[in-house]
Every structure is written in structure tokens, then in C-alpha cells.
């Protein structure tokens, strides 16, 4: 299934559309507090853009941009961001994920610190979901062995 598509129409259109899909996914993550969206939905759209690149260009070209080992590292980075912000709130004498206590570190009003804390957590969740979607699709479609078109 992960095989270079020998049709120039599909390859060209996938190459045109993937940056705009990723930009839209970033918009969905950032506007989670106001319109429908948030971390999980934006992460799914980011993962779908990576899957589009994988089924039209094969694994050789996708490996330059986002390999399978990179997916494992990226999901760990997403979890680190989420837990890191939560533990940072613990250090400043608050509860876990109590963003208001971060205002002394960033030197803003507590309401602004809560908004920035939520944004950071959503980014972490988005990264983790994207890496997991890519990894699930890759493992199921190659059924454990590496694809043989290099």
C-alpha cells in the first residue's frame, strides 16, 4: 500500500495541498477555545496530511521529512510538553495544571497566563496525536515488515 503512485496528477495535487492542510490544522489547534477544535481534532488533521504524503509518494520520500523513528520521538515530545507544563505549575506552589501560578514566571496577569498555559497543552496533545496516527497507519499497512520499494 505504501508504494509510489505512478500517476502525475495525484502526485502533483498531493504536493500542492499538503502545506495548506497543515496550516489549517495549526489554525484548528490554536482556536480551540473559541470555535470547534482543540488539540485532538487538529492532531488528527495533521496525521491525515502525513498519511496523504505516504500513500502518494511512498516511504522513500516521506522518510526525508518524517520517518517512523521520528514518530516515536515526536509522541514522546508531545507528552513531555503536556506533563512539563503541569509539573511546572507544581513547582510554583499550585496544583497540577494550575496555570494561574505561572504568572510570576512569565510576568503577565494570571488570566493571560491561563490562556498561554492552555495553548501550550493543546500543542503538546496535537503533536502526540499526529505521531500516533502516523505510526498506527504505518504499522497496520506494512504488517510488521519494511516496504520493499527503495
Amino acid at each position: 500500500m505504501i508504494h509510489v503512485s505512478d500517476d502525475i496528477i495525484i502526485r502533483t495535487l498531493a504536493r500542492i495541498l499538503v502545506p495548506f492542510i497543515q496550516l489549517y490544522a495549526l489554525y484548528v489547534i490554536m482556536h480551540g477555545h473559541y470555535s470547534p477544535g482543540g488539540g485532538f481534532q487538529g492532531g488528527v488533521i495533521l496525521g491525515a496530511s502525513m498519511v496523504l504524503l505516504l500513500i502518494t509518494h511512498g516511504y522513500g520520500e516521506t522518510k526525508v521529512r518524517f520517518s517512523e523513528r521520528g514518530a516515536v520521538i515526536f509522541s514522546s515530545i508531545g507528552l513531555l510538553i503536556y506533563s512539563g507544563i503541569g509539573t511546572l505549575c507544581l513547582v510554583f506552589f499550585g496544583n497540577f495544571l494550575d496555570y494561574g501560578k505561572l504568572s510570576t514566571l512569565l510576568q503577565v496577569v494570571p488570566a493571560h497566563a491561563r490562556s498561554l498555559g492552555i495553548l501550550g497543552v493543546e500543542l503538546g496533545v496535537g503533536f502526540a496525536v499526529m505521531a500516533v496516527m502516523f505510526s498506527i497507519f504505518f504499522d497496520i499497512s506494512t504488517s510488521g515488515e519494511l516496504p520493499v520499494d527503495e
Binding site: D7, I9, I10, L13, I16, L17
Partner: protein, 104 residues
């Protein structure tokens, strides 16, 4: 009834007409490739007209620009999906329908 309302009604009626003919083609055509003609072309034009009709009704706001962006994306993506599925049918060996089979 301002001019924008009348224009919006006209575009929506055109979009609904093309949706109706595309569905009629999908049900009544005799073969897979002919049905792809009906739904690939008719549905794309109908979505374009319907989205332009909705965006004219909103006026010049941010939402109208976003709806026009959806229309551009559908204009690029729907024919590509039709092309991909018809090429898959060709590779698997689906035979096109010829009129000689019908007469016998």
C-alpha cells in the same frame, strides 16, 4: 428583497438542479464508468454553485471568504478523487459497457 438575496436564491436553485441531475444519473446509468461521469462532474459544479450562493448572502465578511476557500478546495480535490477511483477500476479489469450486449 435586495439584489444579493435574489442572486443567492438563483445560485442555490442552480446548485440544487445540478445535484438532482447528478443523482438521477447515478441511479439510471448502465455502467460504473458512466456513473462516475455523472457524479464526478455534476456534483462538483453543484457544490461550487451552492457555496457561491451561500457566500453571496453573507456579504463581505470573513465567513464568506472561508466558504469561498472551501469551494476552491472542492474544485481541486473532487476531480482528483474521481480520477483515482476510475484508475483503480481500470487496473482491476472492469470492462466498460458496450451497446452490443444490450441488443442481444
Amino acid at each position: 428583497m435586495s439584489v444579493s438575496s435574489v442572486l443567492s436564491i438563483l445560485f442555490m436553485i442552480g446548485g440544487f438542479f445540478f445535484f438532482f441531475t447528478a443523482t438521477a444519473g447515478l441511479l439510471r446509468f448502465p455502467d460504473f464508468y458512466t456513473r462516475l461521469h455523472a457524479t464526478g462532474k455534476g456534483d462538483t459544479l453543484a457544490v461550487l454553485l451552492a457555496l457561491i450562493g451561500i457566500s453571496i448572502h453573507e456579504g463581505i465578511t470573513l465567513n464568506a471568504l472561508k466558504i469561498l476557500l472551501i469551494a476552491v478546495f472542492m474544485f481541486l480535490a473532487q476531480p482528483t478523487a474521481t480520477h483515482a477511483i476510475s484508475k483503480a477500476g481500470m487496473r482491476r479489469g472492469l470492462e466498460p459497457w458496450t451497446k452490443k450486449e444490450e441488443e442481444q
